[in-house]
């Protein structure tokens, strides 16, 4: 009996030693080399919260993974573009030519990223757009990739959800003609809705409050019960206030990032949009994946600000970029990083799998959320 006990103890001890050895072998020692990643986003100006929130996500991802698999340290260089195209172009040039970054994460709007298209082609540097969704961003451009689904997908899903699930026949669509993102979403929504036999009534958000009010009253008379509002948070708040005045309560459907901006910038007006729907890449009522849980814990430990979808986008974008860099033999090889980024398959993000195809477009589920007493609640998930 004693012999068996001794053998058992030796066996357990051997297994423990081997296990410890294996564990140690997995970890790479820090080599002292570093890889630079440029970050461009609105770090000041009216969209400062947007940029700061996204940057917190990037920092959280780097806390989770501070080095590459070969032990190289990851260094980020942040440039502020105030969500303006000219500043973004300057920042891009500086990062590529002066700082020699291996890749860039951009947190700016679709308009800004679209303005970088020509420069990106020339500089041949992989740019990962983590917040912009315009489909043209990746059109005819082999160096800009997107983390989020594009506007074509999101507007189509919104349109078909209203048509096929809410069974709407007629929808009012409010367009901000000065905003490329808004214009594209609205057009795609109308096109898809019309293709299924529905009718859309367009109104403009750019002709002042009085005319907007008149347009809304017209929709009320027309008994339109659904409003598609692919607009910035500021416009949506204005519309919500006008609807409140007229005692007109159609179901509003917004686009990505809207609810996050409402939560960040318009806390006091949230009651006006209670019950409003919006397409979004995330939902707070869906159980996160292991990655999502770890990231949330780390975020809460590191920052006192609330975690937003923008922070989640920053974190996911960084993790996907690091994964692409890790798969390259030479970790400053921009061409390889770009290729690897565009062959991301089934990366497990916050709420599910993300793939990026060879055209730089992301495939991921989309959520339609509702604002429910200041919180986002998932209504449907569309794969």
């Amino acid at each position: 009996m004693k012999t068996y006990s001794l053998l058992f103890i030796i066996f357990i001890a051997s297994v423990s030693v081997l296990a410890t050895g294996c564990e140690k072998a997995k970890r790479e020692a820090v080599t002292g080399d570093s890889v630079k990643i440029g970050v461009i986003g609105p770090m000041s100006g009216s969209d400062e919260e947007w940029g700061q929130s996204c940057l917190e996500g990037i920092k959280t991802a780097l806390k989770l993974q501070p080095t590459l698999d070969n032990g190289s340290l990851i260094k980020i260089i942040v440039e502020d573009d105030q969500n303006q195209s000219i500043l973004a172009q300057k920042a891009l040039l500086k990062l590529v030519e002066d700082d020699d970054v291996s890749s860039i994460i951009i947190m700016s709007s679709s308009e800004v990223v679209l303005a970088l298209a020509e420069l990106a082609k020339r500089l041949k540097t992989p740019i990962f757009a983590v917040t912009s969704t315009h489909p043209d961003i990746t059109e005819n451009n082999s160096y800009i990739s997107q983390l989020l689904f594009d506007d074509h997908f999101q507007a189509s899903v919104a349109s078909l959800y209203v048509r096929d699930e809410l069974l709407a026949e007629r929808v009012g669509v409010v367009i901000d003609k000065t905003n490329t993102h808004s214009e594209y979403l609205a057009r795609q929504f109308i096109s898809k809705f019309a293709s299924t036999g529905g009718t859309c009534i367009e109104i403009s958000a750019n002709n002042g409050d009085e005319e907007l009010l008149a347009s809304l009253e017209f929709l009320q008379v027309q008994k339109i019960n659904f409003l598609y509002v692919p607009l910035e948070a500021e416009h949506v708040v204005t519309i919500a206030q006008l609807l409140h005045q007229t005692d007109y309560h159609p179901v509003m459907i917004g686009s990505d990032g809207l609810q996050a901006m409402m939560l960040l910038q318009y806390q006091e007006e949230l009651y006006l949009v209670n019950g409003m729907l919006a397409t979004d890449p995330y939902s707070s009522t869906i159980s996160p994946t292991d990655y999502g849980e770890r990231m949330q814990r780390l975020f809460q430990k590191s920052f006192s600000t609330p975690g937003t979808v923008l922070a989640a986008q920053g974190a996911e974008g960084t993790s996907i970029m690091l994964s692409a860099i890790n798969r390259c033999p030479e970790q400053s090889d921009r061409s390889c990083i770009n290729q690897m980024l565009r062959s991301t398959r089934d990366f497990v993000g916050f709420l599910g799998k993300i793939s990026i195809d060879e055209n730089g477009k992301a495939e991921r589920p989309i959520f339609i959320n509702t604002v429910d007493n200041s919180k986002l609640r998932s209504v449907v998930k569309v794969y």
Binding site: D164, G352, I366, K381, V382, Y383
Partner: protein, 631 residues
């Protein structure tokens, strides 16, 4: 005629000195001569030779001394109890009030009472030998104190060997093991009287002995429960032996201390005998002299719950086991019934064939009522319960016979169902059959509960009719019939899964019934752990595939719950996908869904849908979809 004596001697100790003057001034005109005990001791003859009546007041030792003199000099005796002498007051029915006590002590109508001598010392109340948990307490002990003391003593209890000899009308010798024994001159008004019949008196010529022998922790707790709930019953509880005899001799292999009325009284052996009508005593009115429930001189030997015979070597000198054990003699009827159950017979074979035929038809018809009928007919439960008892007691005969009976029944069932299937041109796969092809841990739990119920019902005649319900719950024959159908269809998967369900039920019942019998105290005196170990090994072997199957069920439930309604955007079309059903057949996982769409779906759309499902959901699923178009 006066009720009181004309004169009396008052013998007192230091404690009773204060009463000397008071009793001298008694209202009955009795002439009192107060004498301290110390004086009497120096010249007893002078004071006692011609004395007719004595009143005594002092500690128990003084009272006993005076009682000895009373026997010797034949004077009658009265007591003035000290306020602390509650046992004396209770035993002899003495008044607590001094005036009344004086009146009683001086009366001239004493009664002849028995006296018990233990090792030649007068036993006034009780004598104890060994540790006597729960029973040896003052008459009015609080329940909390009882509970605490009972639990404390739980860890120090051992059963010690005793030889008890009684002589009277029935001479007997009994070898047993017990924690300890309590001997009473008269058990009435003692704590132990809660456990025994109230038929003792000071004039029946008998002394009583309570033997405390809890043979397991379980029976100790049962005794504790009875004492704490204060249930008075005419039956002596388990763990207690009760003897009434004119002469009891108690021997132990060890020299155990004997305490007589709380005072050390030497070591074992102890010899106690009754001297009938030994003393004339003035006692109170409520003293039981001739108990109506027992004729004078009626001896008793209630020793059936004491370890005897084969049980003795197991019990004595050992720490008390947790579960009760028993020799076969204790449960003769049960063992006779179980041996009958283990015997193969024609009725069993016929019933087995008939129930299998009924089950096979019921399964093919997908009729649960016909299958229930087959369950009711099924005679397999009885030999399985007998097998469980055989395993517990390692009764090779019972084990062999019950195993052979089960094996025969299983063989017959498989053959019958297989032949019926082979001969039938119609071989459907019904829901009732499918339901028996995916046994899980839940089935094992059902079997275990049914096994417990089976053993429990078998142990108590009054609930034996519940066995049919238990048989239904476990359903032994339908899985066997399904396995037989599998043989008939030459389908190994079919056979193996249905037979696994039967094995699950079988092992579950056997294990649970074995353990239940053990808890209920049917373990053999000489216990053999081999049988139980084999069953446990079988259980582990059966549990592995069952656990895997259970995981499959939970996965399926989680998948289906998570799915509820999903939406897919496929090539510009919006699909609402609902009613997901995941079926695992062998290694294949088939997902059946219902798709709601407004546009016509092409082959390309369905391929893209399949790709998205496979991408976003675990496992390699085979997808089957039912399409519904929303107009």
């Amino acid at each position: 005629m006066t009720n009181h004596v004309s004169s009396a001697l008052f013998i007192y100790s230091e404690e009773g000195q204060e009463f000397a003057a008071k009793i001298a001034e008694n209202s009955h005109g009795v002439d009192i001569t107060p004498v301290p005990i110390s004086v009497i001791l120096d010249s007893e003859k002078e004071y006692l030779q011609n004395c007719r009546h004595v009143v005594v007041c002092g500690p128990i030792t003084v009272i006993k001394k005076v009682m000895q003199w009373a026997m010797e000099y034949q004077f009658s005796l009265g007591f003035i109890p000290l306020p602390s002498q509650t046992s004396l007051i209770g035993s002899y029915g003495l008044p607590k009030d001094f005036t009344e006590a004086v009146s009683l002590a001086l009366r001239n109508d004493p009664r002849n009472l028995d006296i018990v001598l233990c090792n030649n010392q007068i036993l006034l109340f009780k004598a104890s030998v060994g540790l006597i948990p729960l029973v040896d307490n003052p008459e009015k002990t609080s329940k909390i104190k009882l509970l605490i003391n009972g639990l404390k003593q739980l860890f120090s209890m051992h059963l010690l060997p005793f030889t008890i000899r009684t002589s009277g009308k029935n001479n007997a010798e009994l070898s047993t093991a017990a924690c300890g024994c309590l001997l009473f001159a008269n058990p009435e008004h003692s704590f132990a009287s809660r456990l025994i019949a109230h038929d003792s008196s000071f004039t029946d010529g008998l002394l009583s002995m309570v033997v405390v022998a809890p043979i397991s922790i379980v029976s100790y707790f049962r005794l504790m429960y009875r004492i704490l709930t204060g249930k008075i019953s005419s039956t002596v509880p388990d763990s207690i032996g009760f003897i009434k005899s004119p002469h009891i001799n108690l021997e132990s292999e060890y020299g155990l201390n004997v305490y007589v009325d709380g005072e050390e009284g030497g070591k074992t052996p102890v010899d106690c005998r009754v001297i009938p009508n030994a003393i004339k005593i003035n006692h109170g009115k409520n003293l039981v002299l001739e108990n109506k429930r027992s004729a004078p001189g009626s001896e008793k030997h209630i020793t059936k719950s004491l370890p005897l015979g084969k049980e003795l070597p197991k019990a004595k000198n050992k720490r008390i086991p947790f579960f009760t054990y028993a020799s076969e003699d204790r449960f003769k009827d049960l063992f006779i019934a179980l041996r009958e159950d283990a015997q193969p017979n024609t009725i069993y074979l016929v019933l087995m064939v008939l129930s299998t035929m009924l089950a096979t038809v019921g399964l093919a018809m997908n009729s649960s009522s016909v299958i229930i009928g087959a369950m009711l007919l099924a005679p397999l439960m009885a030999p399985i319960i007998a097998l469980a008892m055989g395993i517990l007691r390692m009764d090779r005969n019972m084990l062999k016979q019950s195993l052979w009976k089960i094996f025969t029944g299983v063989f017959l069932a498989l053959t019958t169902a297989a032949v019926m299937t082979l001969l039938s041109p119609y071989q459907p796969l019904t829901n009732e059959m499918q339901g028996r092809l995916n046994p899980t841990v839940l089935d094992l739990i059902v079997a275990i509960v049914a096994g417990i119920a089976g053993a429990y019902t078998k142990s108590y005649k009054e609930i034996l009719q519940s066995l049919a319900g238990v048989a239904i719950a476990v359903a032994l024959v339908p899985p066997l019939a399904t396995a037989g159908i599998g043989i008939g269809r030459l389908d190994l998967y079919f056979f193996s899964h249905a037979f696994l369900l039967f094995l699950t039920n079988f092992v579950g019942i056997v294990l649970a019934a074995t353990l239940t019998f053990r808890i209920l105290g049917f373990s053999g005196v000489v216990r053999d752990k081999r049988g139980l170990s084999i069953v446990c090994l079988f259980l582990i072997a059966v549990s592995i595939p069952l656990f895997m199957a259970y995981q499959g069920i939970t996965e399926k439930a989680a998948f289906e719950k998570g799915w509820r309604i999903e939406r897919f955007y496929v090539n510009g079309k919006y699909l609402i996908v609902q009613n997901a059903d995941l079926i695992t057949t062998g290694r294949k996982k088939v997902l059946t869904v219902e798709i709601l769409a407004r546009e016509q779906l092409s082959r390309g759309d369905l391929t893209e849908f399949k790709r998205k499902v496979k991408k976003n959901f675990p496992d390699d699923l085979i997808i089957r979809a039912k399409l519904t178009y929303i107009p």
